[in-house]
Symmetry: C2
Subunit: 625 residues, 2 copies
Amino acid sequence: MSQESTTLASHLAQRGPAAPTRDAWTVLRPLGPHAVQITSGLWHQRAQANRAASIPEGLTKLGEAGNLANLEIAAGRSDGDAIGPIFADSDVYKWLEAAAWEYAREPDEELLAEQLRVTALVAAAQQDDGYLDSVMQAREFQRYGNLPWSHEHYCAGHLIQAAVAQVRGTGYTDLLDVAVKLADHLAATFGDGKRRDVDGHPVVEMALVELYRETGNRPYLDLARFFVQARGHGLMESYGNEPTYYSDRVPVREARTVEGHAVRAVYLGAGAADVAVETGDEELLKALSTQYDSMERSKQYVTGGLGSRWEGEAFGDPFELPTDRGYAETCAAIGGVQWAWRMLLATGEARYADQIERMLLNGFLAGVSLAGTEYFYVNPLQLRSDAHPDENRSPAHGRRGWFTCACCPPNIMRTFSSLAGHVATADHRGVQIHQYAAGAVRVPMDGDALVLDVETEYPWDGAVRLRVASAPARDVEIALRIPAWATDATLDGRPVTAGGYSRVSRTWTAGDEVVLELPMQPRLTVADHRVDAVRGCVAIERGPFVYALEQVDQEAGAIVDDVRIDAETGFEVEHRPDLLGGVTVVRASGSVEGRQRPVTLTAIPYYAWANRGPGPMRVWIPVSQ
Amino acid sequence: MSQESTTLASHLAQRGPAAPTRDAWTVLRPLGPHAVQITSGLWHQRAQANRAASIPEGLTKLGEAGNLANLEIAAGRSDGDAIGPIFADSDVYKWLEAAAWEYAREPDEELLAEQLRVTALVAAAQQDDGYLDSVMQAREFQRYGNLPWSHEHYCAGHLIQAAVAQVRGTGYTDLLDVAVKLADHLAATFGDGKRRDVDGHPVVEMALVELYRETGNRPYLDLARFFVQARGHGLMESYGNEPTYYSDRVPVREARTVEGHAVRAVYLGAGAADVAVETGDEELLKALSTQYDSMERSKQYVTGGLGSRWEGEAFGDPFELPTDRGYAETCAAIGGVQWAWRMLLATGEARYADQIERMLLNGFLAGVSLAGTEYFYVNPLQLRSDAHPDENRSPAHGRRGWFTCACCPPNIMRTFSSLAGHVATADHRGVQIHQYAAGAVRVPMDGDALVLDVETEYPWDGAVRLRVASAPARDVEIALRIPAWATDATLDGRPVTAGGYSRVSRTWTAGDEVVLELPMQPRLTVADHRVDAVRGCVAIERGPFVYALEQVDQEAGAIVDDVRIDAETGFEVEHRPDLLGGVTVVRASGSVEGRQRPVTLTAIPYYAWANRGPGPMRVWIPVSQ
């Protein structure tokens, strides 16, 4: 073990997940994991549950489910058959990544010790030439014999991401040594003039670019570029596989939309964006922008959820967005955030930050219980009465402590642990605040720093007060995102335009304030007419939250399957600190199909549903005629 | 070979598929395959295409796809690995069944020779103790080692059905010898006091009851009863399988609805109905009636389609009936007809005949092209612009000549060949006409016979004229089904009640006529409000047909994805003999989303879609506000 905490101090301050090099073609520069502290409010509350419950219990679950045992077998420390899915290692790596970022968020030596213990196990499982995949090793499968399905690069990618997180978050290079050895093995094996083949499940692209960023070793970037370029040229077909599922039907550079398995597609988008900015590939970036637009316009739920089909966990056709069978895998929301974040860095366009907020506060946050101990793999927008759970993943079960395919839980953990990194960025003009959460933002500026205290009850309340704690003695721009929904926002009392950044530039002195007021009236959202599944319906939104009717909150006899909303009368809003960890409920007038008597409909934020057991729920509400 | 054509003549006249014994608890008695001739009109046209194209090409496809080769391997006539799915034999058996019923419909010695040649191959593949499953034999898999998935009983069931069809349809007992040997082996192996286990895919239940009916050998009925009873008691779970998919979560006798894999569920329903009527099991029949009601009310498309989920080819939750991803497997419509037919015989309730008509003329008929050469496995109620085919089965491909899993094509073939058997039944009072088609119905009556000529252009025209050709010299009742949609029907000019049978009893003499007039005005159908997928939409129906808008028939610029229908103005109806083999088109006024100018919408019967290439289509049409 080789902690170098002194020399790494500034390094640690500067690098979170997805940290482009100085030469990268990005408009914005991310701040490090130490630059933003979230100290209260919803995100803090949930990140604390992640720390207190999810991460510790996650390690227990990885033990119980056999993921760690597989590594023991591969390390030659025990005998037996590998257990679980072929990609079991990746869950361990995602957990390691979560633990690493969590250390950066707030050190905990016990968690660090666990992390290093698991790291040592991973290192022990690695083969001499760098190859590492415990399930493949234990089952004595032929290396790379079935790449469309073997997930060998996928596991490698998650290992590399964890290693980069470990060095950036803790300063330890133990896992980085494993990752470099594995990446060197990959670079020696795959690429132009070597084996031309790609993994069925992208993620290694993002990981290799990050490893390049961390080590400066160009072959990792080249290999990532190769993997992005090689798709869409019939590689999967040579195995007899259907290419669409694997994002392999069309070359990334030529694709106009996303298709196939949703998590694969968005991970690929994120990795391709990393490659594009590091190689100055404007054409590729433009293609990714087109694909993202198509996804947002025609293949995304109002919750930000991605992937409408259970079959193949896949994107559907344009506007095929069923509510009841909406798949919207939690991992797809996470991958969507990763892609949007990279597009935001590359372009500086506020719509990507809007997207991140929509996905994080709705589609992602619904994936884990308030206590941080139970999960949803699938996040539909409706559950009817008499819904019958017929699968491990089915939301009709209610939330579950773990899954046979447990990709989502540790993915959620690493997202919470690295969440603060998405709050703000910097450029040569100053700082951009993309997400609003109570705490502090510290932007290093040529030896000096701009430090802002953020006071807000957002996302429950629309007032956000930025107070300058310290600033360099020169003009610095503070840019504040005005969400596209915030049509009546004001900045220091003056109206500002929704959908972009409102910028204030001056020489700041301690105590200066900027006050943003975002409008928090509930609003009714109507879908594109081609989304046939929600014709005649509206969704309630308030601020960044999408709301849902959950049966438990309704009047007696008002079965959620049968209600209609009166779109003409107004709303009643009440913050309920006692309810679901503190939520603002929205009430509206409505009726029940076939009855005269009006009823009051009570809506809660979608993310909070199914924390009181499963039951009927709906986001899209039929409108009274 | 052992044709006994003379002695079998009366036998042949009396037994079609599903022929209850005299002792069975049925209200109605089916007529044999020779009793009803359909001589012109839609069904005749399509049955002729089945005979001229589907059946001959089907045998070629079975050769090309390897199904016959598998039997050659099992017969020790060639070497090699079995090809195709584990249930490959069943497609051969369904083809044999089709060929057998087709011979009864109209003899063709060449087809008979082919049938007997394939029969000999099947016989050669059978093992000495009666076991037969060519794929299992060729792969040297352990017999019954994985019954939830091995389809061994499923294949046996289809073989037995084919054998029963062969003896009833042609008089040959070659395949019956194989079936008896196999059934004896099954009866010796499975059941109470023997191996307590069931196949994951029902069908053997129906088959064994039919074999009992054909042979009088009670152990076949007992085994069928055992298989029906054994489900729902954790047998699948002992293999680690999820029981819902296999209709194994709840005992058949206790189930209140259908769930899981749709084809499995309806085949089980049909087999259980056979067991119920032959064992006088009123409780079981009542449970099946409840299940059928639930299915019809909450889990069936307007097209009669069954099974809304791609994932697991399964029934969804109640009212989960998406249009775009509606699965509605062709085989499920066929199984639905089989179940409804058995419920009709058992109860005499007209609603089951209504169901058969709905399923046959819409959900089933859509499964095959007009020419009888291309098929749909999946029958959604909507295809959008830019729909992308990502699977072999996807309707976005358009129809296909065959499938990797080719269960549907030969299932369609056997249905066409035995279709006439569903037209009429008899009881002690007389004859019941359930379906209307031009031709003749001959009901044997104690040495005498009632012979009716049927003149009609139905289902295009509502007039049905029954003319008595000969009759016994005593009172005989003729019962005519008045479909539930036929609210203004008349019989001999007098209004009759929709949804039941209108009965005329008298002593008939040659030349007597009964004239039924069914109303053929197009009508707009609205779904239950809980079918969220079609809120604000209507479906056009005319007579027994469900209509669809297909892009190719619409005005320039009227993209089917974007149209609305004006529900207040009327329809224009035109019969187009030149179009799609002759169809009545329905025109209605409508508009295009976001435009002022009205458009004329042109609808064709749903079954005829995708005969001019794939393209946007919709059954449920949004109503103009």
